[in-house]
Structure formats: structure tokens, C-alpha cells
Subunit: 420 residues, 2 copies
Amino acid sequence: MRINLDDCISFAKESEFDNIVIKARQANELLKSRKGKGSDFLGWMDLPDKITDEEIQNITVTAKKIQMQSDVLVVIGIGGSYLGARAAIEALTDTLNKKGTEVIYVGNNISGKYVESVLEYLKDKDYSLNVISKSGTTTEPAIAFRIFREALYEKYQNEAKNRIYVTTDKKTGSLRKISDKENYISFEIPSDVGGRYSVLTPCGLLPIAVAGIDIKQMVDGARYSLNNCEEMCIQYASARNLMYSLNKTIEIMVNYDPSLHYLTEWWKQLYGESEGKENKGIFPAGVDNTTDLHSMGQYIQEGIRNIFETVVYLKDDMSSICIPDTNDNSDGLDYIKNKQLQYVNKMAMKGTKLAHVNGNVPVIFIEIEKMDAFTYGQIVYFFEKACGISGYILDVNPFDQPGVEAYKKSMFKLLGKPGY
Amino acid sequence: MRINLDDCISFAKESEFDNIVIKARQANELLKSRKGKGSDFLGWMDLPDKITDEEIQNITVTAKKIQMQSDVLVVIGIGGSYLGARAAIEALTDTLNKKGTEVIYVGNNISGKYVESVLEYLKDKDYSLNVISKSGTTTEPAIAFRIFREALYEKYQNEAKNRIYVTTDKKTGSLRKISDKENYISFEIPSDVGGRYSVLTPCGLLPIAVAGIDIKQMVDGARYSLNNCEEMCIQYASARNLMYSLNKTIEIMVNYDPSLHYLTEWWKQLYGESEGKENKGIFPAGVDNTTDLHSMGQYIQEGIRNIFETVVYLKDDMSSICIPDTNDNSDGLDYIKNKQLQYVNKMAMKGTKLAHVNGNVPVIFIEIEKMDAFTYGQIVYFFEKACGISGYILDVNPFDQPGVEAYKKSMFKLLGKPGY
């Protein structure tokens, strides 16, 4: 992993950047001192060091059991309780050509149409449930757990309880109570880790392991970042806050591979939920290129100039496919015949970067050598730590989400929930 | 389809809205006079009236042939050449429980990893190709056509040519030449219809028909809008430009059903590409709720107040599933036991709308009775026409996309394309 800020900080005076880097270093010290805002939710900081081999072994063994017993693992969770796992699974496995146990996601919406479709899909498949919720009372996963648990018991009767895996708080919450009462296999979410920072807890690690990904490697990668990426975090946090100070209030996360789509979705939650408060913060958006060059590309090139980009570029996507030599140039492609698609994609990325910079869109460039579990762990920890620093530069609490309660309160009142 | 602007125009003075409505009516007259900017690309305007029963019959017959011969139709296209079809197919079919011929999409990126994955997926399946490109020279689909055509010929030899369906310009362009030379079955894209307005041409209609959707109904729905939705278009175009005049420069398209995700993607291209020019225009973004209430929700509720929302709400999603009565309230859900998910989802929508309006996010509310082909056609024409009006209010050419060329030029130079 490397970061290059040349095409970003060139839009400001050197002194402006230097001043923000000073602030970022202070923010980083504040983070490390554990005396800043939201410091009761800093469990993610040393998580890669704290996870024991035994815990990883325990998750891996359970994952193997799930793989043996099920065609499908149904993950029940919303927000941070599923996005981290989904992002990793999309980036690291071939979801079109599923091998082994497939992971699907419910409890992340309240669509009857969607739930009926999933129930139909599961009809002639063996499946297990992994319900992920710190409290157990978040409405969406709670509803889904009621529905899918009932379906599971109907299908497997007494055997059903061996197909339910609970990831929740160690002691408190309704889901912990249910789990203990029914004797379900359960995993703990550390009480000092918030949802959007939870991918390296069993929240993320169990589904990721079921998908066949080496979670030991992933944790090792995160640990590598913990020990080595501090300066890179400071650079990224500084650059985006420099942009913010220049009224570039929209950050677009850009990839050049569709398998990274959900990494962007994970990042959008991480940064949007951490910083979007007190009427401030950068609006996080995403594009998948080159797809969206033919959609959002026009706006990015020529719309309101309040945009900057962060490109996450995968240097080697492990493919070898080339453009065939067809002895027929009627499509005019012979100038790139026998070239690898990877090469053409790289030139598309470079060309786009040039065009956007020329169009007054600053670009932060992050390059990843190749995508594997270790690298993925690196990426996760890098973005998490940079987010903490960035939030402190902005002087908000990057570890709470008070605004998420607003819709819940209104909804509960409309639904007649006792106490609202 | 109904539109309600109460929670939007309440953020401005009545006279401000009235003044913009006057502008919108003028813009609509300009559009109808065919004398405004980009008037050589107004073919979409009377498209629903111009499509003949014979053309629809022709597309339907070909679609049936494809259904008979293939498990998979591989659509090769980027931007407007696939988004319209994909949005319709996701909204109108159950993509998890595929029945009949599956539609998949390539040529909408240059990822070697993705292309290799699709080739692997097709290995033991029967498939056909529908290559969609006005010129045939757009890089992404041209590359994909070369690769997948070669694979097709390798698999089917002489039979391959009966599995290639070309949608391109009537007379000009390299794809027309290839098609005529090889005698492929081909369909015409009217020269006066741009990509993002092309869903009701064979671009969209052929893949949509292959997916089993009644395209006659869809065109009828569009025709209904053509004759009946003018005032609604004026209202929507006025409301969003009112927001723009109040520095609400981000519009978030909101749904409450994941099947509408790609409708939002289609809308993002339509509006972003039409208006994002001359350093102006509203930045189009999207969220799928309630999913993204646990991701972007915090920002929308409490971030920078430059956001407004357009909710597209599906009143009846045709599901009947209820929250089971489990005789066990340990999850605390008994206050909604036996309620339909649809009902809970509706209360989530209402609660969110309330919370956002209270948080100073204006809401434009569009309600759809139920999702069927007729309604989908209505929606498409409504958003297209409102977009033309909106672009004219903004005083841009809503029918060109000059900025899309910028990355292409840089990329071609890097790739050593002759002439660059």
C-alpha cells in the first residue's frame, strides 16, 4: 500500500498543507492518548494485537462446521454488522462463481419483497443463520431473525439450534439473553468497538471465514498496518481535510474493479457516520470505474467544483486475459491487440486521473499491490485509523452516531412501540 | 404515480417557488418547440408514440428466440447502453430466483478479473450476445465484444453467428459495418436519441424482453406519461431547481426496496450527465433504505445542510409476509407482531421523512402504486421529460456530454491510439 498526494496538495499552498499536517499529528497524539472525544469506543485501535490465536482458531473451526452443514450462510445484520464482511467477501472471492458456502445478507432492510425472495431462494438449500447485533434490538435484524429463525425451525426442528450462530455483546442485550437461554453458539463483540469499526471482530471474521478467506492473514495485515501505517494515515487525513478547507466537500472513492464496490460502501459508512455531524463533514460518495465514467463522469469532469477523489487502485488484479488478435481490425482495436486488459485498465485510470486533475478535481491516489487477505486487513486498519485522526481534526466525535436515532424515534412512535 | 412537494417547498417562500414554476413552464415550451439547446437529440420525446406494434413484435420474437437458445444473455454495453435495461430487470424480476434466461452485463468496465470471472461462469452454459453501442468504437464494449465474440465462436463455431444480436446506429459506425458484413440480427438506435434516453429503444427493450418483461406494457406506460405527466414533470423540475437556488446542491434519490437500486443508478446518469456541466448542476447521489440509514443516515441527518432528497416510494411491493407471532417477546418485537413487513417499512419511510425534514433536509416525495411494466414505463418517461425541463431551467444543454471525452482523450494518448 502506498499513498501519493501530489495531485491533491498541488491545489493548495505548501504552507496550508503543512499546517494541516501539524493538526493531524496532534489529532493522532490525542487518539493515542485515549483522551479525545468518544474514547470509550477505541477498542478497534489495538484489536489486531489483542485477538488471540485461540479466538481465530475458534472462529475458523465454527466456520468449517458451517461450511460442512450449509450451502448458504444467512448473515443477519445492518450497517457495520454486515458491510465489513460483505466488502471483504466481494473483494476476495469470486462471487459469480461461488465455491463452497455462499453468504447472503438479510436484516439490512425491511422489504417484504426482498425477504420473500430470500425465503424462496433458501427453500431447497441447506442453510445456517449468523445473527449479528450488539443489542439485539435494532429493528431490521431483529425482524429478520424472527422470520428466518421461524423458517429454520420449521425446516430442521430440533436440529435448527445447531444452525444458529449469534454474534453479540458479551453480557448485555436481548440477543445475549436469547442466545444463552437457547444455548446457541455465540461470539462476542467487544463493548468498546462500534459497529463501523467491527470488521476485525467476530462480526466480520465469522462470515469472512465461512466464505473461505484466511482470517489469520487478514488480522496479520491489520497488525502490520497498526505498526507501520501511522504516517500514511496522517497523510490521508491531512489531505482530505486540506480539501475540506478549500470547500471541496464531496469526496468520491474511486475504484477500477467492480469487486471493490462494497469496499467503497464500507468506507462510506466509516467516514460518513464518523464525520457527518454538527452540520459539518465531507459527503462520501463512490464510483466504480470505468463503468461510472459513462454515468457520473460528466458531472465529475465539469459539474460544480466542490469534488475531490480518492482512487484506490489495484495494481495487479491477478488476471492474464488479453485483447485477442482477430486478424480483423473492423472494430479499430488493433492498436491494443495482445495487450492485457489490466494494462488497458491502468491506462484508463491514468488518463482519467489526468483529465480530472486538469478539470480541477484533486486526486488522492492509493495504490494496492494485489488483493489478498493480508492486504485487505491492511486496508481496513489504515482507513479506520485515518478516520479517527480525520474526525479529530474536524473536532467531532468520530465514534458516535447520534443522528441515527432520529429516524428510529419517529418510526417507533408511528409503530406504537411502548415508551415512544 | 403521484408527487408531493409539501416537505420541499416549505423550505422556501411561496413566491420563490412560483417564480421557478414560471421558468419551468417556459423551459417546457422551449423543449416542445424543439428550438432549445441540443434539439437534435429529442428523439426520446415522442418515442412512445413512434414505436410501432411491428417493432415491438419484432423485438419480442427475437427475445423468445434468445430465451429458447440460451441460459444467459450477455449484454455488452456501458452507460445508457445497459443501465436502463438493468434498472428495469432488477425492478421487475426476481434476480435472486432467476427463471428463464438470465441477463448479465459486460463491456461496462475493463477489469480483467471481472471478464475472466464471467468467462468461467459461461463455460458450461448456453449463451448469446447482445452488443449495444451506437458507434461500435466505445472502448469498453468494443473490447468485450472482441473477447466474448471469440469465445462464442470457439464454443459454437458456425452456429455462433445466430447467437449475436447487434443494437447500433441504422447506417453509420463500425458496429453497423461488422453487423451487415456478418449478417447478424440487428436492431437500430434512432440517431436522435442519446444513450441515457435510450431505454425505450431496442437498447433497453431487447434485454428487458429477454428477461420476460412485457415491453408492450412498458411502452404503453411511457405513452401514458407522455400524454399525462407534463404537470408532474414541471413540478419535479421546479422543486429541484428551487432547492438548487437555495444551495442544496446534492440530491439524494431514496428508495425503500433494494430492487430499485439500479433505478437510482439509471437516474444518476440521466441527471448527472444532463446537468453536470459549465461548473454547475446538482450532484446526484443515492441511498437504499433502510439499509443506508445505518451508513449514510448519520450524514444526511446531521452533516452539511446542502442536501435534499427525492424519495421514490413503492406503495405496494406485492409481498404479504408478516412478522411472526412467536409466543416469545424476548426480542421485544411483539408490538409489531402479525404486522406486514410492508407496513413496518412504510412507517420507517414516514419516520425517516419526518426526521429528515426536522433535520433541515427537504423531501420531494414520489409515490408509485405498484411496480409493473406499465408503471416502469411511466417512471422512465417522467424522469426523462423532467430532466429535459430541469436542464433548460439551468440553461445547459441537457442532451450532450462533452466532459465524457476528456478521459477518453488522455487514455487514447497513453494507449498510443492512432491520431491521439
